[in-house]
Symmetry: C2
Subunit: 677 residues, 2 copies
């Protein structure tokens, strides 16, 4: 049960327009009332919260029927679509429809979470760190108290229980989730229409994408009975109608100090971009070798391209002198007010702390072990799990705590296919990258290579490992630290070589994170003291509410309308004739004459979203589903650091387009019948 | 007139197999006699030398008729094919054939060079640098004497005269060229067959590429009369027959010390690769926006991809511990011998010098101004030319000396199209890169940005410049330094901002180059003293002779045959059905039934080549054309540092395939008639 408390909207001194990713237990009621004449009831909020679903692979979703149907984006589901595909049944390419529940395909390792409870545990967590503790002690103390809270909550409720750090360390809330691990695929369209326009149209607008997929959650082998789900709106939103987005924005950095932002701009983002480009070219080259290669690489390639494009937008934002000018002015003003106030003066040290941690982060950048492949990651996880399990839960690295064990093992023991040729390509290149980062003559690098070239070494490791077999993984895990010590599996042996330097760097970054947490907690205090407690916290891949009207914008002197329609997709295809990713699927060509061309297809609104929001339901004041978030336009990408609503927009699939396509293109009457039931 | 002198083959202590890119005035006659029973006459060598042609854009070629026909690769000619293309006449895509001379298309800015004379000027150049000179003085002295030699040679002969540094500074030779600047396109096949298999097949073998194009040189508006040209062989080479390659290998680094190689491996190549990947993704993204964009970006994209793949191969070679082990052992042995010999001992300092210069190079890496676009480069050239022209020729930066002026102006005043949207994209990204390299707050960066984002600044610069007009360029150039000082053209103004830091870095690297030259001259002396003067110098984009038998190799347990044939191309298409770049052009489909499928298509030999050799004629002992170099396989790429002949191969188009295609596919009877005439 969550509680809505009234707060003052007027005190939001540095928020703009519809800025805000609001906590469900701290909604801006006064602002909603003032701006949109809307007073959501506790029931409205609770219903929306419990109708919302989180995809742990990194996306959002919603329940859309009492019978367990879950709506999300095609690109959120694509990890599963890819794992369920084979060369003979390429779901990514041809789509999928189960006409009856027994045709539904079980996802090999999906976990969906429904948020059911939020509790503020700030006082308990903060009390664990006392004056005079070293940073290392503080890390351990905070880790221990969080593990204890999570374990107790799990034991008491049986719910997945996670303590979330908010306001960069200013608040700690315990989030409790009902977990669904039996998830089955019901419907997916072809990638050709889900991602119409491909990488070129990604983050652009106007768009014409049916970026939607439907799963169903099961319990005890039967479709789960769902109490809270969203009814389908009859017609979707009007122009300028306020729309609400309930989803899990992954990460924003709006609390960042100027020093932290400059580190992102000058060092970290360029470094990440270089890595993404490297990965992109590598996967492209692998995919060029043949059609099956292209299929195998597609999911990862999409992820890398998407990330590259998103980060380019973030970097472009930071490289615009005018974007940071506002930030700098607001920070200077805040620091001035604090410095002048004897009660607040001490908080000023936070900025110096972050300047320091930022310098240390810069010195570590590109110094780590960059090895990366699915089988290698499994090996490293087995090695670290065996080590960590020798300690009590509270002293372990958080990902190995008792509370998270079930989710961890679901991934580790997944039967999803691993393509060894692709994995070997990734492993070889990432070994080469490690040499470049640490220097060829570095002793760890020499041990990694064992006298061979990166490519030859990768071939030897992949052909020699047994970890492709889930049984082999389980056997090693069951043997604990002794099995790890005795293992002659070449990937386990590699993981043992790189584990010590990886842990060394992890320990340093954990301490830097702790210092940042303490510093941002002070900055949050400073903001609470000067701006009221009304500010929303940065995104943390937990459920938030955003909102804003459906409306277009001006670009290069042209008015971009809020809507596209189904007919526009056919025109868009014509305009890009012969180009890759601009070919509508056969199913749409066949259905063209039966489709209503005026049905709205995609639309934009000013709601404040970011990566992780993909798949979020968009609802109206009545709580009905009117759309499905799938993207932000390129102007929205600097939203990681700064929200604007001049041109930045979230992009949704219109609810009517999904229904129309299900009926007319895919003949999915069975699904349409279930919607809203 | 060149002279062949007998040298001892047996003294080549660290050369392997057919290693060697030999100077035409210092051919390994004894080795050829011993190994291949072949004693080339002076006339044989002179004929081959004068039949060889250099493309100044970076490739090789040969005269193939008395009527001025020049054969090179499609990918060497593609720069010109691209410049001659328009959306309506896309020569890159559909190919080209002039049935009569008046249909031939004049290249906007091609310069071809025919080497006619080589003279050793080592003593004069070395004498200019005396003991006690500072590095700066040495740079100036060497620059002055070289400019004087070149100017005198030009004035005396009217020939383009260039002093080439050989053995990293051990020898200086004056090369004199007859220049052809009226060059016209006669025939080009479609890119689909010239580059069949695209980026995926590039640097791979077996191959099926008709990577050939024919130009014609003109003098006084008429086809030039050519004395030395290659006759077409009746059948091409036999298996294991020795084949000779006469071309211009661009650059090798086989004299590099271990310190210099480690710098390449650990820092320079990874840095270059990151830049290439960035450029590749940028161009891909630009090309995705539409078909015309793809056409505009294609030439540069090919260059970047080709370079990226080549350098990946080089880096992979250096990252193989076994490749460098030989190098390290040979270096240690040489240093040991020197150290033990009182007469040679002083030479040992060379390695320390290079260790030092290498460290300084590392400290400069990625600190420069990275701005890059065609129009910006023109602006910078105009600014620097005006500055340099205030000094006498011998004191200028070499590219602005009197001897090279004609070639410089041909490029600067080229009427080849510049696409401003593409140029703006390149400019914006390279400004962003400069910010990342130098740091956003760097004063030069702040001046570059002028308060705008990189993208906005690029838009402003490109829309404001007049340099798209060749007349405007000429006018500024005519006005000298005063015109530069007065110019309000935004790109000229930008060039003035960045010119000082660019010159500062240039001055430092010039001095490092000078120190390296002096050091490598000592190492060359050490090698001459211990191994005889038989060693060939590293490649310098000047004419060299390489040779080796036509033969296959073993890979992954399979025997790769020396030849492919025309029928194989059709099979290769089938195996890669539906993949980009694996579609044979319509012309080949139509001609399929008439083509002799057993005609050899591509072949490999052990001849020692590298980038720049593309387009080199391959001849037999009789001096007849048997092939056309167009690639090396992936195993050959580490040849930049180390030659091997275990798997490394040069890849050629077979002469018979070119003739067959001209006749059967393209109906170019007019060309076939001229061949060998």
């Amino acid at each position: 049960m969550i509680c809505l408390t009234a707060i003052l909207a007027t005190s939001l001194s540095d928020a703009h327009g519809d800025e805000g990713m609001w906590l469900f237990n701290d909604l801006p009621l006064a602002m909603l009332k003032e701006r949109y004449g809307f007073e959501p009831s506790n029931e409205w909020a609770e219903h929306l919260m419990k109708s919302s679903v989180r995809f742990n692979v990194g996306g959002s979703a919603s329940f859309i029927s009492s019978t367990g149907l879950v709506l999300t984006n095609h690109h959120v589901g694509s990890d599963t679509l890819f794992k369920l595909s084979t060369p003979e049944r390429n779901i990514m390419e041809v789509g999928f429809l189960a006409k009856t529940p027994d045709q539904e395909l079980k996802a090999p390792d999906l976990e969906l979470n429904q948020l059911v409870n939020i509790k503020d545990v700030t006082d308990v967590v903060k009390a664990s760190v006392t004056d005079g503790m070293s940073t290392e002690q503080a890390v351990a103390a905070r880790r221990a108290v969080i593990a204890r809270i999570e374990k107790a909550a799990l034991d008491e409720s049986g719910l997945k229980s996670t303590v979330t750090t908010l306001y960069g360390g200013g608040r700690y809330h315990l989030y409790q989730y009902k977990k669904y691990t039996d998830v089955r695929l019901v419907w997916a369209p072809e990638t050709a229409i889900a991602f119409f326009g491909g990488d070129a149209d990604n983050f652009e607008y106007p768009r014409y994408c049916l970026d939607a997929t439907i799963f169903r959650v099961y319990e005890d082998g039967k479709p789960a009975k769902i109490e809270h789900f969203l009814k389908w709106s009859a017609n979707g939103p009007e122009e300028n109608e306020v729309a609400f987005v309930s989803g899990n924005p992954g990460r924003t950095s709006r609390i960042f100090t100027m020093d932290a932002l400059k580190y992102q701009r000058d060092l970290n983002l360029p470094y990440i971009m270089a890595n993404l480009r490297r990965q992109e070219i590598l996967l492209q080259q692998y995919a060029l070798r043949g059609k099956e290669n292209a299929r195998r690489a597609r999911d990862e390639l999409f992820g890398v391209q998407n990330s590259r494009k998103a980060r380019l937008g973030m970097l472009a934002g930071l490289q615009d002198p005018q974007v940071l000018a506002d930030k700098a002015a607001a920070e200077a003003k805040l620091r001035e007010i604090i410095a002048a106030d004897p009660k607040l003066k001490a908080l000023g040290s936070a900025w110096d702390t972050i300047a320091e941690t930022t310098k240390k982060r810069a010195s570590l950048l590109g110094k780590g072990v960059a090895i990366n492949s699915q089988l290698y990651n499994i090996a490293l996880e087995l090695v670290q799990m065996a080590e960590e399990d020798q300690k009590p839960s509270g002293e372990r690295l958080p990902e190995f705590s008792d509370a998270g064990r079930e989710s961890l093992l679901q991934q580790l023991y997944s039967e999803a296919p691993i393509y060894t040729d692709l994995d070997q390509t990734l492993l070889g290149d990432s070994i080469a990258k490690t040499l470049e980062q640490r220097g060829f003559d570095d002793p760890v690098c020499q041990k990694i290579l064992a006298g061979k070239s990166p490519a030859d070494r990768a071939a030897e490791l992949i052909s020699g490992t047994e970890l492709l077999s889930v049984e082999a993984r389980k056997k090693i895990a069951a043997g604990g630290i002794q099995a790890i010590n005795d293992s002659k599996d070449p990937l386990i042996m590699l993981a043992k070589i790189v584990n010590p330097p990886i842990r060394r760097i992890r320990s340093i970054t954990d301490q830097l994170d702790e210092q940042d947490k303490q510093a941002y907690a002070l900055i949050a205090e400073a903001k609470f003291a000067t701006q009221g407690t009304s500010a929303y916290p940065d995104a943390t891949f937990t459920l938030r509410l955003a909102f804003g009207p459906v409306k277009g914008y001006e670009q290069d002197g042209q008015q971009i309308p809020a809507w596209t329609n189904v007919g526009g997709a056919f025109e868009h295809e014509k305009q890009h004739e012969g180009q890759t990713d601009y070919k509508l699927p056969e199913s749409w060509k066949k259905a063209e004459s039966k489709l209503s061309k005026t049905t709205p297809f995609n639309f934009v609104s000013t709601a404040d979203i970011i990566g992780g929001n993909s798949g979020s339901p968009v609802v109206n004041k009545a709580g009905e589903l009117v759309g499905l978030i799938f993207d932000g336009n390129v102007q929205s990408l600097s939203g990681n650091y700064v929200y604007t609503d001049k041109q930045a927009r979230s992009v949704s699939v219109h609810s009517s387009a999904i229904r129309e396509a299900l009926q007319v293109v895919y003949g999915a009457d069975n699904i349409v019948k279930e919607l809203g039931q």
